[in-house]
Symmetry: C3
Subunit: 135 residues, 3 copies
């Protein structure tokens, strides 16, 4: 079963999508199987991270911002804005697709795991996901 979803972002930062993905699993009715999430962009990506302390994802964002800064003289692809090339690099460093097993009708995530869409552009966007459910 293939489901399409849209996530609204508000500039750089992660947006938790665990509930949205869990609802897709519910909708599929699958009890045991695999849930694959795919992001249809090259300047937004997916990551599984701790969702207990918001400080953890803030530090993650800060580390990536320092490692892949805007206005690096290395960049030649600058016509789409200073945040565009860093967005592509950050996407390559994280994931375009994630697979999470489904067990007993639920995502088999660990206690502290949340699924996040990571917006790497500065302005709000509508981001498209495709969720594939099998089982």
């Amino acid at each position: 079963m293939l489901l399409r979803r849209e996530v609204r972002t508000s500039g750089k930062g992660v947006v938790e999508i665990t509930s949205m993905v869990a609802e897709a699993v519910d909708e599929s009715g699958i009890k045991e199987g695999l849930c694959t999430i795919f992001v249809r962009h090259t300047s937004a990506s997916l990551v599984i991270q701790e969702n207990a302390d918001p400080g953890a994802v803030r530090d993650l964002e800060a580390w990536f911002e320092r490692a892949v800064p805007e206005n690096d003289p290395l960049y030649t692809h600058t016509q789409e804005g200073p945040d565009d090339m860093p967005a592509h690099i950050k996407s390559a460093l994280t994931a375009s697709s994630l697979a999470v097993p489904v067990d007993g009708g639920r995502l088999a995530l660990g206690t502290w795991q949340g699924i996040f869409l990571w917006e790497h552009r500065s302005t709000p966007k509508r981001r498209q996901l495709v969720i594939y459910l099998q089982g």
Copy 2:
């Protein structure tokens, strides 16, 4: 088919799990299909690397340790210890899930490829994996 496995780690470093995953493939009886491995943690991750020369994974670990050091003044999420926030970042830079095709009843890995669980915390842990087999 969904299998749960536990891996004991002894502090920072990779643990090869290729045999464990190959045994799961055997147990499933699948001849042609896909094996997906998922780690239920945000401070341990998965990576496929060369398993011939142990120096290769040691250098990989050393590069990550230098790129994502402990006690970076950037971190605010420090209450779980100096190794916790680097563990989250290293996990985001590698993988929470991996998919390896199964062909002729065996993992279709290349000659030099091994599957590793990467422990990013300093103390020994029991890490949970979920392996999903289809075919």
Copy 3:
């Protein structure tokens, strides 16, 4: 359905394989499902990136080359050449496997997304892919 493919590379750099993967989807006849691509090497990897402006992937390559340089005194695994250990690290930072949903018989890629094999070694190689199609 499991298909094997070979990609010829000409030294460091990305090679777009979107058409090759799309042809595998065609060959499978699958209308709705999932296409998983796996690279059988630890010194070449997979990445989804913008395929409109070639400058974007060039900058991506340049950023990785600077972040993971050759001849870093950190490396001990040097017997296979100065480009080998950086190749392993770059592979760990990107992906060994990618999953792309198939919808209406086509890869559900976004408008700007292309699938690339990333050669991290300096000399031309023949790289092996396994493509698994389900649906």
